[in-house]
C-alpha cells in the first residue's frame, strides 16, 4: 500500500485545525461580562451542566476539526496505490521503467526505486509478462517483454545509475510499444522516478495505464554543481573559466571551488545566489608545448601562444548529496575555433528573401551551443576566398564556380573540411559536373518539377526523432542527380531521386542537397527538422570535430586518427580499454565522466574529457503531477485510486451536517 498526495503543499492547511479550538478559547476568555444578582444559582446549576457542556464542546470541536482536516485532504488530492497479492487476478503485462538518470543518485533515491521495482516484480501474478528497464537506455537493445520473475529480477539487478541526460517520454513510449506485443489483457507501465523536471518535454503526461511512483519524497532537493569549464589562451597564460551553479532556493555562501591544472592547485570561495551561476576565472601561466598530436590548424597558430605545459584540468566543489556533478573535467583543445562559411548565391537587399536566410539563422542558433563562428559571403567574394580557415562550408545556389574556387574547395575537403552544397536555379548542372567532378557526390542531370515527399534511407542516418519528422518536408522542385560511385544517399524523394547525398573526400566530406536552401523549391528550411539536420552535419564522423576535446556523456565522439593508423584504442577513466574502428573512427561508449585517453600504435595520442550534462544537475521537481484520466485499472497488479478525494469531500459534508445537527440538539 502506498499513500501519497498530489498537492502535498495544501497539507499546510492542517494547521487550521487549531482554529475551532482557538475560537472556543477566545469565546470563553473574552465573553461579555454581565452583572447579575443571582450568580449563586448559576454556579449551583453549572455542576449539572458542566459534564454535558464538556461533552458537547468536545463533540463539536472534534466534528469541526474533522471537517477542516477532510477539506484540507480534499485539496491535497490524496492518491492511494494498492498492490494486489502475488497470484491474484489474471496474468498481466507490466513494464517497469526505473529512472536511472544521474539525478537519481541524490541521496538514496535510486535504492528506493529499486526496492519499489522489486516489490512490483514480486506482486506480479503468475504467467505475467514484464519488462524491467532503465530510463536511460544502455546496451540492452530493444525492449521486449519476458516472463518469469527471475528474469525480471536479473533485469533489475543490471540497472545502474547512468550519467546521461534523459528523454522520458521517448523511453516510456518505447516501453508501451514493447508491451503492445505482449500477451495479457492488462498492459501498463509503472515509472519509478524522482519526478525531476529535466527530461520531460511536456510537464503533462497524456497516457493511460501509466502509473508514476515518486520516490524522491522531497519537493525540492538542493544541489550545487560545476557546470562548465572553458579556456582562453593568452601569450603568457591560459585563463580557465569555472562555472559553478547553485540549483537550490537558498544562497551558497563561501563555497570552496578548486581547480587543478598543470600541477597548480587553485581555489576560490564563491557566493552563489539561489538559482544562480558564478563564473570564476583562474589564470595559469605557462608556455606552449605541443605534446599531443597536432592538427594542421594548430600548426598554423603562432608558436608563442601560451598553451600551457598542461592539457588536463580538473575542477571541483565539496561533495554534496549528488556527487557526480561536483567534479568536472576539461582538456585543452588544439582547436578552439570552429568556423563556418555560408556562401549565398542569391543575396537580396531584404535579408529574408536571400537564399541563405534560414541557413544562416540555423547556423547562428547552433553557434550558441558550439561556439562556431559564422561568416556569410556572396558568390563573388567566395571566388577569391581561401577556405583553409574554415571547418564547414555551405554553398547555397552558387552559380559561379571557377576552376580556382573548385580547387580550393577540393583542397578544403581533402584536409578534413566539410562542404554542404544546396542547389537552385542559378546552378548550372554542366558547370558543376565539370568543375566539381571529383568532389561532387552525384552527377547533376536536370531540373524536375512535381510534389514529392522525403523518403528516409533504409538505414537511418539521422536520429529517430528527426527521421520521423522528415515527412513534413515537401519538395516542389529539385535537380535530378545520379550518385557517384562511393557516394551514399542519405535521404531520397518519392519517385526514387536522391535528396541528400554524402561523399567522403580525403579526410573530409561533401554533402549534396538536390534542392534549394530557401523556400523557393521546398519547405525544408521552415520545417522543424531543418535545424537538427544542419546540426547533424556537424555531428557526423569526420565533420569538423578535429581538435575537439570536451564532450558530454553519451556523445558519439569522433576520434582524430592518422591516415596510417591501423589500431586505435580508447581507455576510459576506469582503465577499461576499447578498440575502435578506424573508419569512421567513432567512440560511442563514453558513459563515465572523466579523462579518456586515445592510443594509436601502442602510444598515447591525445586525451579528451567527458562530463555529465549540466542540465540534469537542476533537481527542480515536476510542477504538475501526471494526471491519469482513467483510474479504473482492471484489478491486478497495480490499482490507482485517484478519486479518493471525493470520499473525503463527502465525509466533510456529512460531518458538517452532523455538526449542525449536534449544535441544534445541544441548544
Amino acid at each position: 500500500m502506498n499513500f501519497s498526495f498530489l498537492n502535498p503543499l495544501f497539507l499546510i492547511g492542517i494547521s487550521a485545525v487549531a482554529l475551532p479550538l482557538i475560537a472556543h478559547l477566545i469565546s470563553r476568555k473574552s465573553g461579555v461580562v454581565k452583572k447579575f444578582p443571582a450568580v449563586r444559582f448559576i454556579i449551583a446549576s453549572q455542576g449539572d451542566a458542566s459534564a454535558r457542556s464538556r461533552l458537547k464542546d468536545l463533540l463539536l470541536l472534534l466534528l469541526r476539526a474533522c471537517v477542516i482536516v477532510l477539506l484540507v485532504l480534499v485539496f491535497a488530492k490524496p492518491a492511494l496505490f494498492s498492490f494486489a497479492p502475488a497470484g491474484s487476478g489474471g496474468p498481466k503485462a507490466l513494464g517497469i521503467i526505473v529512472d536511472n538518470s544521474f539525478s537519481m543518485g541524490y541521496g538514496d533515491n535510486f535504492e528506493r526505486a529499486r526496492e519499489k521495482a522489486s516489490e512490483l516484480i514480486e506482486t506480479l501474478p503468475d504467467g505475467s509478462f514484464g519488462i524491467v528497464a532503465p530510463l536511460v537506455a544502455g546496451e540492452e537493445g530493444r525492449l521486449s517483454p519476458t516472463s518469469g520473475k527471475e528474469a525480471l529480477r536479473d533485469q533489475l539487478s543490471e540497472i545502474t545509475i547512468s550519467n546521461t541526460f534523459t528523454e522520458n517520454e521517448a523511453r516510456l513510449e518505447e516501453a508501451f510499444s514493447a508491451l503492445d506485443g505482449a500477451p495479457g489483457q492488462t498492459k501498463e507501465v509503472v515509472f519509478i522516478t524522482d519526478l525531476r523536471k529535466n527530461g520531460w518535454q511536456n510537464e503533462k503526461i497524456e497516457r493511460d495505464r501509466l502509473t508514476i511512483i515518486d520516490v524522491s519524497g522531497e519537493a525540492a532537493q538542493a544541489n550545487s554543481a560545476v557546470t562548465g569549464i572553458d579556456a582562453s589562451y593568452g601569450k603568457d597564460a591560459v585563463t580557465l573559466g569555472l562555472s559553478v551553479s547553485n540549483f537550490s532556493d537558498r544562497p551558497e555562501e563561501s563555497l570552496l571551488a578548486s581547480l587543478s591544472a598543470g600541477g597548480e592547485e587553485l581555489s576560490a570561495y564563491l557566493d552563489i545566489p539561489p538559482g544562480g551561476t558564478v563564473l570564476n576565472e583562474f589564470a595559469i601561466p605557462g608556455e606552449y608545448i605541443s605534446g599531443d598530436k597536432t592538427s594542421d590548424k594548430a600548426q598554423d597558430r603562432p608558436s608563442d601562444d601560451a598553451r600551457g605545459t598542461f592539457r588536463e584540468v580538473t575542477a571541483g566543489i565539496p561533495r554534496d548529496r549528488l556527487a557526480v556533478d561536483d567534479t568536472r573535467y576539461f582538456v585543452l583543445s588544439d582547436s578552439d575555433d570552429f568556423d563556418v562559411l555560408i556562401v549565398d548565391g542569391d543575396p537580396r537587399e531584404d535579408a529574408r528573401l536571400s537564399e541563405t536566410y534560414y541557413l544562416a539563422r540555423a547556423a547562428e542558433t547552433i553557434s550558441e551551443i558550439s561556439g562556431a563562428h559564422i561568416t556569410v559571403e556572396d558568390n563573388d567574394r567566395f571566388l577569391g576566398e581561401k577556405l583553409s580557415g574554415y571547418d564547414l562550408v555551405f554553398l547555397a545556389n552558387v552559380g559561379d564556380i571557377t576552376e580556382g574556387s573548385a580547387k580550393e574547395l577540393g583542397e578544403f575537403a581533402a584536409r578534413g573540411g566539410t562542404a554542404v552544397i544546396f542547389l537552385g536555379e542559378r546552378v548550372r548542372a554542366s558547370s558543376y559536373n565539370a568543375l566539381l567532378k571529383d568532389l561532387l557526390p552525384a552527377e547533376l542531370i536536370t531540373e524536375v518539377e512535381g510534389e514529392a515527399k522525403i523518403v528516409p534511407a533504409p538505414e537511418p542516418v539521422f536520429p529517430k526523432q528527426i527521421g520521423e519528422r522528415l515527412s513534413q518536408v515537401g519538395v516542389r522542385k529539385h535537380i535530378k542527380a545520379v550518385p557517384s560511385p562511393g557516394a551514399e544517399v542519405l535521404l531520397g524523394l518519392e519517385g526514387g531521386d536522391p535528396f541528400m547525398i554524402k561523399k567522403s573526400f580525403g579526410k573530409g566530406s561533401v554533402f549534396l542537397v538536390t534542392s534549394t536552401a530557401d523556400t523557393s523549391w521546398n519547405n525544408f528550411s521552415i520545417t522543424t527538422v531543418f535545424l537538427p539536420v544542419v546540426k547533424g552535419f556537424l555531428d557526423m564522423p569526420g565533420v569538423a570535430n578535429e581538435g575537439r576535446r570536451n564532450f558530454l556523456i553519451g556523445d558519439a565522439i569522433p576520434i582524430d586518427a592518422s591516415d596510417e593508423a591501423d589500431r586505435i584504442e580508447v581507455r576510459n577513466p576506469a582503465g577499461k580499454r576499447y578498440v575502435i574502428e578506424t573508419s569512421p573512427a567513432l567512440f560511442d561508449k563514453a558513459y563515465e565522466p572523466g579523462i579518456y585517453t586515445v592510443r594509436e600504435g601502442g602510444k598515447d595520442s591525445y586525451k579528451f574529457a567527458v562530463n555529465v550534462d549540466p542540465r540534469e544537475s537542476n533537481l527542480e521537481k515536476l510542477g504538475i503531477a501526471p494526471e491519469k484520466p482513467d483510474a479504473d485499472i482492471t484489478p491486478g497488479l497495480v490499482k490507482v485510486y485517484r478519486d479518493i478525494w471525493r470520499y473525503f469531500l463527502w465525509g466533510a459534508v456529512m460531518l458538517f451536517i452532523s455538526e449542525a445537527v449536534a449544535r441544534a440538539v445541544f441548544s
Binding site: V32, K34, F36, A38, V39, A49
Partner: protein
C-alpha cells in the same frame, strides 16, 4: 407632592381597597382594623362615610334620613394601625433598567402602598436597609406625611449586601407598638437569614407581608451563548454557557421561591412574588381586602 415613583393612576384604581391587619391591634384612633379591646370600650367614636366593605348594620339610618347620605358609626373597637414599609436597597436591587429595575419597582410599590395606607387612616413609617444599615422615618398618619415618605424612597441608591436580621431588629426598636411590616426585597441572602428574620417578626407579633421582588431575567434566565457573570454583591465571577445552565437555573429559582413561600406560611407571614414585569396594582391587590 412628588409623584416620580408614585403611580397615581394605580393608586386611584385601588382607592376602594383596604389593607387590613389580620390580627387585632392596640390602636387608639378610629380605623379599619379590629381592636384588641373589642367589647371593653364600645363607645361611639365618630361617623365615617360609608364605603364598600363596611357592615350595613353599622349604617346610621337616621343620618341617612336627614342627609340622604350613608354614614357608618365608628366605635372604639376599630382602630388605626402603624405600618413599617422596608425596602431592600442592596446592590442586587440595582439590577434592571428604568422601570424594570428592582429597586425602582420596589419604591413604586412601597410609595403606592404608603399612599393607600395613609389614605385609610393608618400611620406609615418607611425605610430602607442595606447591609447592616437601616434608615427609616418613624410612622405618622395623615396624607401630608406622604411627602417625606416619597423623599425617603426616592433618595435610595442600590449598594451593599442583603442582610435582614440586623435591620429588622433596628426597625423593631422604632415600631414597638402594634405594627405590620411590609418588606420589599429580592431576598438574595442565606435562607437561614430569611428564616431567622421571619422568626423574629413572628416573635415580635408583627404581621408581615413579604414582596419578593425579582427581575424577569432572574426568573427566566433568557440569556444566549457563553457569558461571564459577575455577582453584584459578592463580585464572584463565573463563565458559563447560558444555554447549558438555563434549565438548572430555572429549577433552582423555582425551588427558592417555593421554599420562601413555605417559610412565610410557617411563620404566618404573607408572601407575594412580585416580578418587575408584574403591574404594581396586581401585587397590591393580593394583600388587599376584596
Amino acid at each position: 407632592m412628588a409623584n416620580g415613583i408614585l403611580d397615581m393612576e394605580t393608586a386611584s384604581r385601588l382607592r376602594r381597597f383596604y389593607f387590613r391587619s389580620p390580627s387585632r391591634v392596640r390602636g387608639r384612633k378610629a380605623g379599619i382594623h379590629k381592636s384588641l379591646y373589642k367589647g371593653i370600650s364600645p363607645d361611639f367614636l365618630e361617623y365615617k362615610e360609608y364605603n364598600r366593605g363596611d357592615e350595613l348594620r353599622q349604617v346610621d339610618w337616621r343620618l341617612y334620613g336627614r342627609h340622604d347620605r350613608l354614614y357608618v358609626k365608628k366605635f372604639e373597637d376599630e382602630v388605626n394601625l402603624a405600618w413599617c414599609i422596608l425596602v431592600d436597597s442592596s446592590a442586587s436591587m440595582g439590577y434592571g433598567e428604568g422601570g424594570s429595575q428592582k429597586l425602582r419597582y420596589a419604591e413604586s410599590l412601597a410609595a403606592t402602598l404608603a399612599y393607600l395606607l395613609l389614605r385609610q387612616g393608618d400611620s406609615v413609617g418607611a425605610g430602607a436597609f442595606s447591609g447592616m444599615e437601616l434608615s427609616i422615618i418613624p410612622p405618622r398618619a395623615g396624607n401630608s406625611y406622604m411627602t417625606p415618605i416619597l423623599e425617603k424612597l426616592e433618595s435610595l441608591t442600590p449598594s451593599g449586601g442583603t442582610t435582614l436580621t440586623e435591620p429588622l431588629l433596628k426597625a423593631l426598636e422604632v415600631f414597638k407598638q402594634d405594627a405590620s411590616f411590609i418588606i420589599l426585597s429580592d431576598l438574595l441572602t442565606d435562607e437561614s437569614e430569611i428564616e431567622k428574620s421571619l422568626q423574629l417578626l413572628k416573635a415580635a407579633k408583627k404581621d408581615t407581608v413579604i414582596f419578593h421582588v425579582l427581575h424577569e431575567d432572574e426568573i427566566d434566565f433568557g440569556f444566549r451563548g457563553p457569558l461571564e457573570f459577575l455577582d453584584m454583591e459578592s463580585e464572584e465571577k463565573v463563565i458559563v454557557d447560558t444555554d447549558a445552565v438555563r434549565d438548572g437555573y430555572r429549577k433552582r429559582i423555582r425551588e427558592f421561591t417555593g421554599k420562601l413561600k413555605l417559610l412565610c406560611h410557617e411563620y404566618e407571614s404573607r408572601y407575594v412574588l412580585s416580578p418587575t414585569s408584574r403591574p404594581v396594582e396586581e401585587s397590591l391587590i393580593e394583600i388587599a381586602d376584596k
